[in-house]
Symmetry: D2
């Protein structure tokens, strides 16, 4: 399995009047997590799109355990547990500065050929880059 950590700081506009991070802000954080995970493997998401491949989100599950607050320095821990095929599954843990688990989530994304609009296999180079983590 492959795991990558990235950190970000909660913006004021991402809170709501409960004083917590709005529940709809987290998908942006998960996006940051998976984009930075792919970048660390040598696959900037921008380069993936420039190859004519899109990665729309197919489904998402989120469990909100504890609230995050304004200005918190959060760690987004992104994990790939299975080799991608037509789909790639990212799991996420959002941790505060003490390592407390605030939120858990999972998203499934589909590799789509932009020209045809049809699903396709993950790029071979991505599978090659991930293979060492699954032996």
């Amino acid at each position: 399995m492959f795991t990558h950590d990235t950190t970000l700081r909660v913006r004021y506009g991402e809170t709501d009047q409960m004083g917590y991070v709005y529940y709809g802000t987290y998908p942006l954080y998960f996006e940051v997590g998976r984009v930075e995970a792919l970048r660390s493997l040598g696959f900037p998401y921008r380069a993936i799109e420039e190859q004519g491949v899109m990665l729309p989100v197919h489904d998402m599950q989120v469990k909100y355990h504890k609230p995050a607050r304004y200005d918190d320095a959060l760690t987004i821990r992104t994990t790939i547990r299975t080799m991608p095929g037509v789909r790639i599954i990212f799991d996420y843990q959002v941790l505060d500065a003490n390592g407390t688990l605030l939120t858990e989530a999972s998203t499934t994304l589909v590799f789509v050929d932009r020209a045809t609009g049809r699903p396709r296999m993950a790029m071979q180079e991505l599978m090659d880059a991930l293979a060492p983590y699954f032996t």
Copy 2:
């Protein structure tokens, strides 16, 4: 079961460069759906908070079937399938103008007493308002 429809129009800022509604925009749409469902029952969410009750989201599941696009007039169909207790579950269907199902989701929210920070039962008045739909 109780069902309520509300409509909204996709804003430009809610799209992303794929030309679709960003996957992280939908939680805002679900919020509109459940808030309008509660309002139709006589419970503006603002009034709930003014009674000292918060309703944070505990978990969310989303299936993205087809993309929504800029300026689409979407129907958010919100359904309550079981009587609330400490928790209330809202199911959502996002439909386009032709009635095609674009997205399905479910969220569980928890009634929390703001003063104590502890879970509490749904307000009796809300259960009274819902009761006729579950007989």
Copy 3:
């Protein structure tokens, strides 16, 4: 001059922990205002883009007089005071349900030919539709 009113309701996710609508939410409201103003003239913004014309924002000025709050039913009053040429200027007033002025703003947008990336004149049909308001 041409004026058009549209209404919207403040979403929870649009507030921040001050309990007000986040200052960065208003540009979304202005977008709703000008899009609905153009629609009322017979120019859905989607149709403008489908003609190969983009309308990026060139500049924006905002004065925040009084805060808007969650669930407020706001009126976005959008005014075009001068006939468009290469640019079109929209002025906005955000009013609460009592008609109190909360926010004032102005944005200048530029008509751009998507194929060439260069500024161009407003569509003749739009100028024809606006002309009766400027005689």
Copy 4:
């Protein structure tokens, strides 16, 4: 005058279907700029609020010169040109990785006593921290 640079990376959800950063995303970036500028002076914004002081935005002016795009690494250059009193003015420049100026802006914020809701002078400690930059 006091200047502080901070960097951030454009998120996918911050773009729109033109393929640019949505014009309404920039106020979030300006917020990051001024918050990090204040932090560098020893004033985390969270600590300011914990002292019972709010800093709502009074007005904003933005000039959009060139578009920013997905995944761009942007520098937010925040400048305080005059000593704060009841108000504090932040100027911003958004630069791309080549140092090209994409966006310029200015915001005026007001120091407000949360208890009374009335404007007040900037904290003496903040003026002391800024004084060396204005001699």
